[in-house]
Subunit: 301 residues, 2 copies
Amino acid sequence: LIGVTILGNNSALPAFDRHPTSQIVTIDDQLLMIDCGEGTQMQMSRYKIKRGKINHIFISHLHGDHYFGLIGVITSMGLLGREHALNLYAPATLLEIINLQLKVASTTLPFQLNFIPIEKNGLLCAESKFTVHCFAVKHRIDCWGFRIAEKKNPRKIDREKTLQYEIPTAFYERLKLGEDYTNKEGELIKNEWVTTPNTETKVYCYCADTIYDETMVAHVRDCHLLYHETTYLHDLKDRAAARFHSTTEQAATIAVLANAKKLIIGHFSSKYESLEDFLKEATAVFANTELAIEGVSYAVR
Amino acid sequence: LIGVTILGNNSALPAFDRHPTSQIVTIDDQLLMIDCGEGTQMQMSRYKIKRGKINHIFISHLHGDHYFGLIGVITSMGLLGREHALNLYAPATLLEIINLQLKVASTTLPFQLNFIPIEKNGLLCAESKFTVHCFAVKHRIDCWGFRIAEKKNPRKIDREKTLQYEIPTAFYERLKLGEDYTNKEGELIKNEWVTTPNTETKVYCYCADTIYDETMVAHVRDCHLLYHETTYLHDLKDRAAARFHSTTEQAATIAVLANAKKLIIGHFSSKYESLEDFLKEATAVFANTELAIEGVSYAVR
């Protein structure tokens, strides 16, 4: 889990050259897309995101600023001759919309689109290097957050020690998974004598559009990087609540309660041209906060 | 009919900061939108197009590069509090797509959306200052061109003459429409003695996406400004035909056959970074050709 690149950091109404929500999560050589507002394919070109490396797209909810760009991304992948499958995770109705749009254009995609409807909290996707869990958040319509975690890395073999204990190389894969070894003499060689733990597994959590909601904390606890929306500054907390959105202080409070290592905030209302006050208000509550800025990649560490 | 502003001049795959098709036609203080590819609302902000002045949107066909931006334009009009009705002319299925997208987001527009399905050649819209006729063009799916004409201007009254012939001011409106006047003595005062013809009425024709098709000429004859697509240069005329698109020379030939006063060409394939050869090839056939460039307004005269 290397980082998160912001393609859109604005709320519904595009303004000040800020775009509706989309993010790219980089895990080794794979790219995951989270949400896909209008213009995302142009933002991908602008920031040199390689479409071919995206095999998983997650859509948090069906407000247009989170998915109106998806059909463009999908059909452009088709025009560019993509052949490998694409997994799309989203509320069920999205498939109906996409199928209608493809049908009316007489378009057949040259690749397989696997649609996985998001229906309940839990494991959504398990790949060799990462897992994605989803959790319901509280918004005006069904809406989902995502917890993306590297899979636990195998342990590192200490070659000097394995030679010393005469462990055959055929057993190395099992050592990496943490197994102990028993030699021909029946002596137990404890795994921890011959291996060292690998680097910590990283976790990124994306909270989508949500009202302030402490029940979310359980789902994002101890993550290395937390994205939480902050549509409004603190003084508009009543408007935020009425529209099921959050403020700076609320986003930062969730980061504190969750023991997140770092917070990025976005989904700024088009009311605001300057974003300075967002950072000021959030860092007052949770120091390690950054603004989600388009084109910038945030390390997960 | 003052002019046509290009918001997108590219074909399906956005490239080189060129966008999918959209145009704004200005008639006095009204704006008409023709087609609405992804990102049109951002292009409108970039080129300072006033959304509130758009009361009519025409969608030529349901390939995504001509309508994926429409739902964004419509919902943003709603977010901005629009209250006056919007007329949308498009193939019928578009309404189904829009209704599904509004429903799943629990969105109720604060203004009335009047949907007028395009079904056959003829008059589509008659307003006080202009009319719009549509005509079927030949593309891979149902596709329509548009002929936008100013209404015939009333004749101009020559005040010196009307006083001389003692015509009452109450009859002026009928004079403007071309009627003769008979005075109390039963003498006929011919209309042409007391009025002069007004300026010529202007016509703009938009040919959408189309294969080379001379039957189109009848619908665009004698227009002041003609927009015709030129997805490819001349050397790719076979590919153009296979995909139901046109080349430079074909667009220019239609302009010649139709006796158009001026031609603008667009819908350039993302194969081409430079557009120079498009202009060179088209002007060789029809001299008064210009490239459709985003942000540029072309006068209709």
